[in-house]
């Protein structure tokens, strides 16, 4: 207690390429604080719309959601924006054309639900989850004036969002 955090930008990992360790309490506290700082809104990917349908596969596979014997499985898909704000007060700017778009699919299978999330940016911005709160803070609009906080992360994201359409290729 009372000791300053030495490094809040690099999480503990099991080796150079290993997974992030749960024993990194600095990471856990940072992520927990980030998750709870805007109640009841989600921080990112809050505004979206979803539809329910099915996933159908034509090839045999090991996974249940794509098994050949049961070719059709119920699924739900949700498309959303990332940094846009869901509150009605910001309705006029809540759907940004240059915002990152999210795409989440939930497969309902006999072996349990299987979630697959993604977004439409070709290369992700950061390598460490510990940097994610700082990146989002730089990109998210401030609640009192609606401008992004700025910083290197914001310039990085805006570079993607403001890039020329002919040079900006999605994946």
């Amino acid at each position: 207690m009372g000791v300053a955090v030495g490094d809040n930008q690099n999480s503990l990992k099991a080796g150079l390429r290993g997974p992030t360790l749960l024993e990194d309490f600095i990471l856990r506290e940072k992520i927990t604080h980030f998750d709870h700082e805007r109640i009841p809104e989600r921080i990112v990917h809050a505004r979206g719309s979803a539809a329910h349908g099915y996933f159908e596969c034509y090839q045999a596979a090991r996974a249940d959601h794509a098994r050949r014997t049961v070719r059709r499985r119920p699924a739900s898909a949700r498309r959303c924006s990332c940094a846009s704000r869901p509150s009605p007060a910001s309705a006029a700017r809540s759907t940004r054309a240059r915002d990152v778009r999210g795409f989440a699919v939930k497969f309902y299978t006999d072996e349990g639900n299987w979630d697959l999330v993604g977004n439409n940016i070709p290369v992700f911005f950061i390598q460490d989850a510990m940097k994610f709160p700082d990146l989002v803070h730089a990109v998210k609009p401030e609640p009192h004036h609606g401008d992004a906080a700025g910083g290197v992360g914001a310039r990085h994201v805006l570079g993607l969002r403001l890039a020329d359409a002919r040079s900006r290729r999605t994946c």
Partner: protein, 284 residues
């Protein structure tokens, strides 16, 4: 001020002047093909127990609206498309390779800031035979359309691929919809789009195949050049030897001699610099 500046959704930290805003037409073109990439690689396991890393991709064609003039555009667009029977569909593509192949890649597949080039590992749409689906095969058994408004999202798909879809429209049609204050006539427009679907799908397939060399998933402009490139020696975290670490290790060896067994083991284990240099020589 929120709700006042109609152009503010494009860039927040830039000086707000309409002349500095990007071209709106290009904006729409950039977002028409709403392709999505999963942020984490998945691992597929076969019945024999073999494991294959498989980065995943979704490609669909729900359109996006620019500038935020209509904040509820995406939700209403999806709703109206479903109500009109133009069910949106997406295809799931996989890049499947073995862990041994992944070890030979020059990048770390677990790095979220890296991509697997399509020339290195082609995107397969759920097929196990390794052949990339041809547009004609995918469109051959195109299902009929249902008019049931209660059915949602997706029509029967004989293949897990394709469905470049009715909900997608050309920039021309988007411009028409914007002219009517964001409201589109649902059934007639959807029907027209669905009749265009075959041509649109085939065009999209060809476009995707030829577009690979210029996309961020490509590392070269030429697919043939990428295929002819010799295999990499694998990912090395620190390609350049760290002199400080090398000096510290030598000092530690001098200062604290290991027990005899460990000394023998150490002599048999190649140093980091040796492994790095061998990797460089193999890759070059």
């Amino acid at each position: 001020m929120p709700g006042v500046d109609a152009h503010a959704d494009v860039g927040d930290v830039r000086p707000r002047h309409p002349a500095q805003l990007p071209d709106d037409a290009g904006l729409r073109r950039a977002h028409l093909p709403a392709r999505q990439r999963a942020t984490a690689s998945r691992v597929l396991s076969s019945s024999t127990g073999s494991r294959s890393p498989a980065p995943t991709r979704w490609s669909g064609t729900r359109r996006s609206r620019s500038r935020g003039a209509d904040p509820d555009f995406h939700r209403r667009d999806l709703w109206e498309a479903i109500e009109a029977g133009a069910y949106p569909e997406w295809e799931l593509g996989l890049q499947i390779f073995t862990e041994e192949e992944a070890d030979r890649f020059s990048f770390d597949i677990l790095d979220a800031t890296k991509i697997v080039p399509e020339e290195l590992v082609p995107v397969r749409a759920g097929r196990q035979d390794g052949a990339r689906p041809q547009p004609g095969q995918l469109l051959r058994r195109r299902p009929s359309r249902s008019r049931s408004a209660r059915r949602t999202w997706s029509r029967a798909s004989t293949s897990a691929t394709i469905r470049c879809w009715p909900g997608a429209s050309t920039p021309t049609s988007t411009r028409r919809s914007r002219g009517s204050a964001g409201r589109t006539s649902t059934r007639s427009r959807s029907t027209r789009r669905s009749r265009r679907c075959t041509t649109t799908s085939a065009t999209a397939c060809i476009a995707r195949r030829s577009r690979a060399a210029g996309s961020p998933t490509s590392r070269t402009r030429s697919a043939a050049a990428a295929r002819s490139r010799p295999a990499c020696a694998g990912f090395v975290s620190f390609p350049q030897p760290v002199k400080e670490a090398q000096g510290a290790r030598q000092a530690r060896e001098v200062r604290r001699p290991l027990h005899p067994g460990a000394a023998v083991l150490q002599s048999q284990t190649p140093d980091r610099e040796e492994r790095t240099s061998s990797a460089h020589s193999a890759s070059s």
